[in-house]
């Protein structure tokens, strides 16, 4: 009974929305909105075939490479800058400016500097995603409890092991918040870079459908992007739960006291 109830809560609203969509479209055909059945068949026809290999997977590869590179670069640079007070003060205004710069404007710039190729799309993703990771790492390192710093100093923990065992763990909760922002920016930039200048990829294909008024195909492309977004968010939550298990445990203990 309890399982049934939670299933009801999980699927109730989605089913109602689906039924509503089905009722609204099956009576009078609407040019802009396909029926659910039509969308499903179009979705399967359009994406499960050659297109999976030529458009979807390359786009996802570029996204993964770009985001991972941005995370690694952001954390390494962030540690270097965050640990040095002078460097932090010197770089702060410039970094704040780049963080505030809307990342999509980087697409035309990198198109000029790199040219139109895969490297440009990865470069766009890296240069847009790095700022939240970098600035959150700096912030995380800066706000480490001074008692911790002094403790590791008096125990003679320095260099790499200090970074590995004291600094990185204390900064991880802040870094993860940056990674979360970087993921959604990365997905946006993947689509934009392909819509702006490309002849393949998810973004290009969807715009192509829209320009040729292939409305059900266009909707199926929107569904693909949505599914990628949902998948990314689930992966992120899973990773975060693993990486920050100790942190959530600590918070629970602190709150219980």
């Amino acid at each position: 009974m309890k399982i049934l109830k939670s299933f009801g809560f999980l699927l109730g609203l989605p089913l109602i929305l689906l039924a509503w969509w089905w009722l609204a479209t099956s009576g009078a055909p609407n040019f802009f909105v396909p029926t659910p059945a039509k969308l499903v068949t179009t979705f399967v026809e359009t994406w499960f075939g050659e297109r999976m290999l030529t458009d979807v997977l390359p786009s996802i590869m570029r996204l993964v490479i770009g985001v991972l590179a941005a995370i690694v670069l952001g954390i390494v640079l962030g540690l270097a800058v965050g640990l040095n007070r002078t460097l932090r003060a010197v770089t702060e205004p410039v970094f704040e400016f780049f963080r505030a710069l809307p990342p999509p404007v980087l697409v035309p710039v990198l198109m000029l500097l790199v040219g139109i190729n895969d490297g440009m799309k990865v470069a766009v993703i890296i240069s847009g995603c790095i700022w939240p990771v970098l600035l959150n790492t700096i912030e995380g390192v800066r706000s480490i409890d001074p008692v911790q710093n002094e403790t590791s100093r008096s125990y003679g923990i320095t260099g790499f092991s200090r970074i590995r065992y004291q600094i990185l763990p204390s900064a991880t909760p802040t870094i993860m918040a940056g990674v979360r922002q970087a993921l959604s920016i990365g997905l946006i930039l993947m689509v934009i870079s392909e819509m702006f200048a490309s002849s393949s990829g998810l973004g290009f294909t969807i715009v192509q459908f829209q320009r040729s008024f292939a409305v059900p195909e266009m909707w199926s492309g929107i569904v693909v992007l949505g599914l990628i977004g949902v998948a990314l968010s689930f992966i992120f939550q899973w990773v975060q739960r693993r990486v920050l298990r100790w942190y959530h445990g600590l918070k629970e203990v602190e709150n219980a006291v």
């Binding site: 710069l101 999509p104 697409v107 934009i192 819509m195 968010s233 602190e254």
Partner: protein, 279 residues
């Protein structure tokens, strides 16, 4: 427990930070040095031939182009268009998210009932809606609004839901037993608890709204700075393009600054702001 210990560690950090500058240069001088070094690099890169000057003009040229732009009506019209889409989109998103968030958040049934749908719709990137926007609205401002409202709505809604969930149970039960009406409970119990969360949501949404306003203009061609950037790029006015990009960056810095000030003003009564100097 954490509430009590945190201010003391923060005070310690602050004491350290205020002691630090006496050792070296003040912070703003260091920041200025950083900006000068950055501009110097930018100036030298094309001069030394690291990149071609026609792809990356020197900083001086771009800043001169920006200065000319500042005197042009067309530039300010574009800024106005961008900010108009930004403001309308943000206002619609915040209003809708606030009302829905309060209604859903205050009912445990609705919270469970809508959870799966919200978790599914939230991560859908709003740029996926670009083709739909073009099909429905073409290059009108509504295209920008559709993207901005969709993206900002979830940012604010989630924060409002967190905020409502954070309401103290005892306070709520007290209000109930004193016979507070629904409206009174919202105004006097839920709203003050939720306000810091709401402000965080608005601050995040404000910068997201700018990103999507520029994106829509860049890709769809609705009026604004993004469209000017695309035009300058395809027209080969490269230093003009960089000048416009600088302008969008300054717009972003200004929006961040203003939202932070507003947040601090609105929450000046709240312990999290009263306890420390910087939010």
């Amino acid at each position: 427990m954490t509430q009590v210990t945190e201010p003391s560690t923060r005070a310690a950090v602050k004491a350290k930070a205020s002691r630090a500058p006496s050792k070296g240069l003040p912070k703003w001088v260091l920041g200025l040095i950083g900006i000068v070094v950055f501009l110097g690099f930018w100036e030298l890169m094309p001069a030394l031939g690291v990149v071609q000057a026609k792809y990356l003009p020197p900083a001086s040229e771009v800043i001169a182009a920006l200065a000319t732009d500042l005197g042009l009506t067309a530039f300010w019209v574009a800024v106005g268009d961008t900010m108009l889409a930004w403001a309308i989109g943000l206002a619609i998103a915040v209003a809708a998210a606030l009302v829905l968030g309060l209604v859903i958040g205050m009912s445990p049934f609705l919270r469970r009932f809508t959870n799966s749908t919200i978790e599914f719709l939230r991560p859908i990137p709003s740029v996926a809606l670009i083709p739909l926007a073009v099909l429905l609205f073409g290059i009108k401002i509504e295209s920008s609004l559709l993207l901005i409202v969709y993206a900002c709505f979830w940012q604010v809604l989630i924060q409002v839901l967190y905020g409502v969930a954070d309401v103290d149970n005892v306070a709520m039960q007290t209000a109930r037993s004193y016979g507070f009406s629904y409206a009174q409970r919202v105004r006097d119990v839920v709203f003050p608890t939720m306000l810091p969360y709401l402000m965080t949501g608005i601050r995040l949404a404000a910068s997201v709204a700018l990103i999507l306003a520029i994106t829509a203009e860049l890709l769809i061609g609705s009026p604004g700075l993004g469209k000017e950037i695309a035009l300058a790029q395809s027209g080969g006015a490269i230093s003009g393009m960089y000048a416009l990009i600088l302008a969008t960056g300054f717009l972003g810095v200004a929006i961040n600054g203003v939202t932070r000030v507003v947040e601090k003003r609105v929450l000046s009564w709240h312990p999290s702001v009263r306890g420390e100097a910087t939010a």
